[in-house]
Symmetry: C2
Subunit: 318 residues, 2 copies
């Protein structure tokens, strides 16, 4: 496998949700050779291109390279996995046509256990993961609105960041994304869970509430802190030292968010799937496997799992 990364790589974007379209459009506008796999809304994107709106700018990719299958795209240098983790069962079919000997695969998915399904198909050595701190939504088949472009952090699966990890991060930086490469992807993922576990979870479990409601309710706010502490303690059992000050920082940041609607709540209320196993189930299983006590996290997982099961089943509720 090659250890260099081409100056102008051939890039595939697998998945045309908000993240896939947003990052793909930024890379394309920066002159990169981007190939989009688009399932829903292909006609609209082919006809009108991709429009991105951020608080600072508007981008329009007039003639994106759009495909209905990864076979049509063919081998790439970089594959960006931007489907929901709940659709990872399709990777065994989606990825192989894109993979040459030196292809890198970067997954943008949330939570724990998202690199493993990629590694099973593509082998572990070429897998990277990104943590995307961003708030954007697909407002039309061909349009993405990004309220908070935020930052992206990239890491290598199971290893410190290498030359190619830094090269991929540089690609995003050149495309206007605040992005860096860091050495411990696993710790980055646990750190992101510190916020996602309580706020995405309680937003649903407390009956459909925004972050300001959780912050204003003494019980829910304390519960969010206890959940964060369980996540931090569980990470500690894996040798990942997240300082307690990181928990305080989450509350300082959340206090400034106003009535923010976490993505899992938005997905849940829109009838879309949520990353139940990646954000709650897998952390519970990993924590328990090393003897970490996570009673509240497990309870939250069970409550959410039931909500999701009965919501999708449909008949039983309301």
């Amino acid at each position: 496998m090659s250890t260099t990364f081409p100056a102008k790589p051939r890039i595939a974007i697998v998945g045309s949700g908000s993240l896939g379209l947003y990052y793909g459009a930024r890379l394309a506008k920066a002159g990169q050779d981007v190939h989009f796999l688009v399932r829903g809304g292909r006609a609209a994107i082919t006809a009108r291109g991709i429009r991105v709106k951020t608080p600072a700018e508007r981008l329009h990719v007039k003639k994106p390279q759009v495909y209905a299958s990864t076979e049509e795209i063919g081998v790439c240098d970089l594959v960006i996995v931007a489907i929901k983790a709940t659709g990872n069962g399709a990777l065994a079919k989606l990825l192989p046509p894109l993979l040459g000997p030196s292809t890198l695969v970067l997954t943008l998915q949330n939570g724990l256990g998202v690199e493993e399904p990629v590694a099973e198909v593509a082998g572990p050595d070429r897998v990277m993961g990104a943590l995307c701190y961003i708030a954007c939504e697909r407002t039309a088949p061909d349009a993405v609105k990004c309220r908070f472009p935020g930052v992206m952090t990239i890491g290598k699966f199971g290893k410190p960041a290498g030359e190619r990890t830094h090269a991929v991060a540089a690609l995003f930086v050149k495309a206007g994304v605040k992005c860096d490469a860091q050495d411990n992807l696993e710790e980055m993922r646990w750190r992101k869970l510190v916020w996602n576990v309580p706020f995405n979870g309680l937003a649903i479990a407390a009956g459909g509430v925004t972050t300001d409601v959780i912050m204003a309710d003494e019980g829910l706010r304390t519960l969010a802190r206890r959940l964060m502490e369980e996540v931090v303690d569980a990470a500690g059992k894996f040798g990942l030292e997240i300082p307690r000050s990181f928990v305080d920082l989450q509350f300082e940041r959340t206090a400034k968010m106003g009535n923010y609607r976490p993505s899992s709540l938005a997905d849940f209320e829109a009838g879309r799937e949520i990353e139940l196993e990646e954000i709650w189930g897998e952390p519970v299983r990993r924590a328990k496997s090393v003897g970490a006590a996570v009673p509240r996290l497990e309870m939250l997982y069970w409550l959410l799992r039931h909500r999701v099961a009965t919501r999708q089943g449909g008949a039983k509720r309301r």
Copy 2:
């Protein structure tokens, strides 16, 4: 204070919900001298009496003694408190007109901390509590439907059952209620919580589900068991030994209940108050006061408290 209990006591029923009307009607039909304080539906009861329907029989108290205030009732030998615990703030005004030197006060309320407000007004020595295992609802201002008459257990506040506790239990037995007196009211209350905490609580917190749904979901069922174990362990810290087999017994019984709708869920969905502090809040506080770990019970309390607050506040949800 007298230590004997009259053969035909003067009885006041304070509160005209389903329990007050049901037990009051049974006592009246058995020839007892029963005086009902009725707030809502007084005209209907005065005009048509009280009708009770059980799986086995129909009772009709044609001319119940109905009052608009406890001043009109006057001093009684036995006062049965059948208002919701959430209304206990009114006891300081309701009880004094009913109290003579030897009056006994029996509260039918659920949960922990329900004898104390009575004792504050009436003094601790005359206070008794009853655990009512029963399923009934007020189907009209003058009608109660009892699906499961169940059993009643009476105990004395802070002391073993004495002669008068047994006399009161005998009164109910003569009226056709399966009733006995037991020595440890506090333990009886914790035992009832073993079921009420998880099933009343999860029925609401899981999104409005009946007991069969909790039993059929592996996560919720396990969570119910963990909650029961927290209650049992907390009781143990107070020297109240509830065997683990009691937890198993709850599951055996619940499996036979079918799609039972716990009373707290019915109250919550009908917009009525639930016994939030008595069933969840006070057990959490007592458990933590003796260092018992109740992370799931506390989390359930916080989730329920938020649901109740926002439901009552109205504006924030849906």
